[in-house]
Symmetry: C2
Subunit: 498 residues, 2 copies
């Protein structure tokens, strides 16, 4: 198994980070609570571990069974014959302490407790959680959870988690205080073309807290961008001090739940987070260089946006549009996001105008009055990139989506179905966008392509995954404008803080 983590960190913090590495890079897993009863998490999570293709050793632990899912089972972790890097817990809360003692005796260094029924219920269950953490720490263990949905590391085909969902390997790491929201973050990033380095549903954060995962991701060479969902933290100072250091190395995109009094009240019964003024929170994020997303979908897409593009040098934006109305809306959204729709020099406009019909009105947004003739579009975008007059470029167009329900007459001259012809023109253009990626990286001017083609699931590869042609196509203008703007924000923060 290829190693996927920051093994080189040194010192005391380094030891903890090395042990966190066992969560994501275990050579062997004891599964405490393995069962074949299909409505229990002890079956569903184990099933995902198997279905995901984990290639390390799995030891099912269940005192009542000789074997589980065809693998020999053991009465406790103590009885497991080989070394155990990671213990996964799905047994009821009442059995967790004894299983933890077994892990300690066995010398296990990392525990993933999926089991619920701790602090979130209050009363003596809170005491149980405190005791669990005490014993884990006494044994020198790191503990993820309890009450999370699990973790994943696709490079290791490691999916000890609840959802029946196996995202591909990629550059983004995720941490979330909600399992459902974790899935939303990952799905959005995946649709935008990026896979997962590591992901964790941090649950009650009894031992490892969000800032610990962020510090770990900062060290992890497989992680290039970080996306997080938080409902709050018991130690705001530690959280923001950590995230400020992390932001100096990698972008952190954060979605915050519990911004309003209604949301905070709901968060109190979910993760027990405390009320913080959202204005103060927003100010702390800005100071720490954190990019704050407005929704889980936006967080995932912004994270993917950072991955494949250079950071822009400033806020000047050029808009290239396949329609006047789209250009107007895009200019509004750029203004909203704090970007400047700059006037272009006469020389640049003349150079662009040579490729457009005489009735073109020379201005930014550049309205490609020529419609679907994409042969002029690539050179126009490249001219704009090379002008030195814009820091990022948004290109938006409406493509023709192949709809099997539509039957159109054949083009009488070309003998070809018109729908197919226009579809090939518009999606064929997307396939040529990588030609602009060389200049984009050379010149440091990120390009954002927005099209309805992105929301067409029938078009395989649009939005393309990293494995495909590497092009992310945005399905809505607002997210693309926000991506250009937050990348400019982050670039400005990095220039001040690096």
């Amino acid at each position: 198994m290829q190693h996927q983590g920051p093994m080189n960190a040194a010192g005391k913090a380094g030891t903890r980070i090395r042990d966190m590495d066992l969560l994501f890079n275990p050579r062997s897993i004891a599964f405490v609570g393995a069962t074949e009863f299909s409505l229990k998490w002890g079956f569903l999570v184990l099933n995902n571990l198997l279905a995901g293709g984990y290639r390390g050793k799995i030891y099912p632990v269940n005192p009542g069974r000789q074997s589980v899912m065809g693998m020999p089972a053991y009465p406790s972790v103590r009885e497991v014959p080989g070394e155990v890097d990671l213990a996964v817990f799905t047994v009821p809360a009442s059995q967790v302490l004894r299983a933890m003692d077994d892990c300690a005796a066995k010398g296990v260094r990392a525990a993933l407790v999926i089991t619920a029924g701790f602090r979130e219920l209050g009363g003596e269950n809170e005491d149980l959680e405190r005791e669990l953490v005490k014993r884990a720490r006494a044994a020198g263990m790191v503990l993820a959870g309890p009450n999370g949905q699990g973790i994943c590391c696709p490079a290791n085909r490691l999916f000890p988690w609840m959802p029946l969902f196996f995202p591909p390997d990629g550059p983004i790491s995720f941490v979330s205080q909600s399992g459902n929201v974790l899935n939303m973050l990952i799905s959005a990033a995946y649709r935008a073309g990026s896979g997962v380095a590591k992901a964790v549903s941090s649950g009650n954060e009894a031992d490892l807290r969000m800032e610990d995962y962020l510090a770990y991701f900062a060290e992890d060479p497989a992680t290039e961008v970080i996306a997080a969902y938080s409902e709050g933290t018991p130690d705001g100072r530690r959280f923001f001090e950590t995230v400020r250091e992390v932001s100096k190395r990698k972008p952190v995109i954060l979605m915050k739940g519990g911004r309003t009094s209604s949301g905070t009240a709901a968060a109190r019964s979910h993760t027990g987070a405390m009320a913080v003024s959202d204005d103060l929170y927003a100010a702390a994020c800005r100071q720490a260089g954190v990019i704050r997303a407005r929704s889980a979908d936006e967080a995932g897409i912004l994270a993917a946006s950072f991955y494949e593009r250079p950071l822009p040098r400033g806020r000047r934006v050029g808009i290239v549009t396949g329609g006047g109305g789209l250009g107007v809306i895009c200019a509004d959204l750029c203004s909203d996001a704090g970007l400047e729709v700059v006037s272009l020099s006469r020389a640049t406009l003349e150079s662009i105008g040579k490729r457009l019909p005489p009735w073109w009105v020379p201005a930014n947004p550049i309205d490609l009055v020529a419609g679907l003739d994409f042969s002029v579009t690539l050179p126009i975008i490249e001219t704009l990139m090379r002008s030195g007059e814009v820091d990022s470029i948004i290109f938006t167009f409406v493509g023709v989506i192949r709809d099997p329900a539509v039957r159109t007459p054949l083009d009488p001259h070309r003998g070809m179905d018109l729908q197919e012809m226009w579809h090939q023109v518009s999606s064929g253009f997307v396939s040529r966008i990588p030609e602009l990626y060389g200049p984009m990286r050379e010149l440091g001017v990120p390009l954002f392509v927005v099209s309805n083609l992105a929301s067409s699931r029938s078009d395989k590869g649009i939005p393309a995954t990293r494995e495909g042609n590497g092009v992310t196509v945005y399905s809505d203008l607002e997210t693309a404008c926000r991506a250009a703007a937050v990348m400019a924000d982050y670039a400005a923060w990095r220039r001040l803080h690096s």
Copy 2:
């Protein structure tokens, strides 16, 4: 052909509205500029008219051809043998005046001028547009355009327009100053389950302006909701006076382009609209009962939302959620939108709690800690509807999407693929939602269902169209919360103004 329009309007305005009816209900069409050259609109629009299945009479007009696309062609509209209800123009601007005179001589009462090259180019082309309108009005004609992409009326299978796109019949009428944005509005409403009554790309609005179409839609019995995209109007007073009257009868959802100085500058070169302070514009919208959308997608989805639901009586919202984090985010979004996440009475919470496990925390949002057991969900939602304590309900859950790339082991007991099993559970639930539509309408408490299943195109029927089981599933929480809020806003306005 079934008649689709308001023929009963009387008087002078009535005459004009009767003539506008010819745009959408023509028994015969003269197509001025019909051609077989596949890169001309004279071919593409005619092709759509044929492919869309129009059942009236079509007379291609082209002085250089004996026939076009297998139909006999005529040298001018004067030579057409039968009566002509509507003339569609795609000839170059320089030929439009002469063709207009031919139409006047023939007694044509309605013209759709798709041809571009008028006011948008300035100079003598502005004079040409003024002369065109003068001649049309002298002949007692209504004129749509010029420089629009055309119109549609799916009930009549009438698609004399540019896009290769044939949306189904439905309750929403659309008017847009941008063709591309018109397509975005219609696509969004269609994905949300609603088809089109009538749609028009109003172009330069040389004769018929947005407010004329809105007044026409107010009278049209096939139109139940109206969605519009505007970049501004030369006569704000007339526009808002009209829309205020329309809003008393039907909801008008408006997306405004050119809110910011950059957007206004772009709009100037697109439709020549003038700058208006956006705060003033927003105030005028509020006074006129107009629902302002934040994006074209939102406008289309809000329009569809109004169609299938009763108007809520107030702002109290109940949230039912399949996950704690979703509930937190939903509560935030409801607060943002001006809804009140109310506390529920002990009696209501007890009645709901009977169906949930003992570790449920009784509160609004109602977190269905039971996960995917949807058998309890319908009765819980109905209990909430009948409580009299909420005015609208948002239900959100994450469903399992069938992914053919995922192969999972069989459930050892049920002998069934797990993915298939969970998918059936979650999508099967959606198929049962119509059981709640009776109580929803009886009690006047609209329900909004939000799930990732809505963004899965592989699930045919989710979001269901009107023709299917009638359920709209929202793919993002924010739009659902906004829909509940703007319906409450509109209901409050109607109570004051009817």
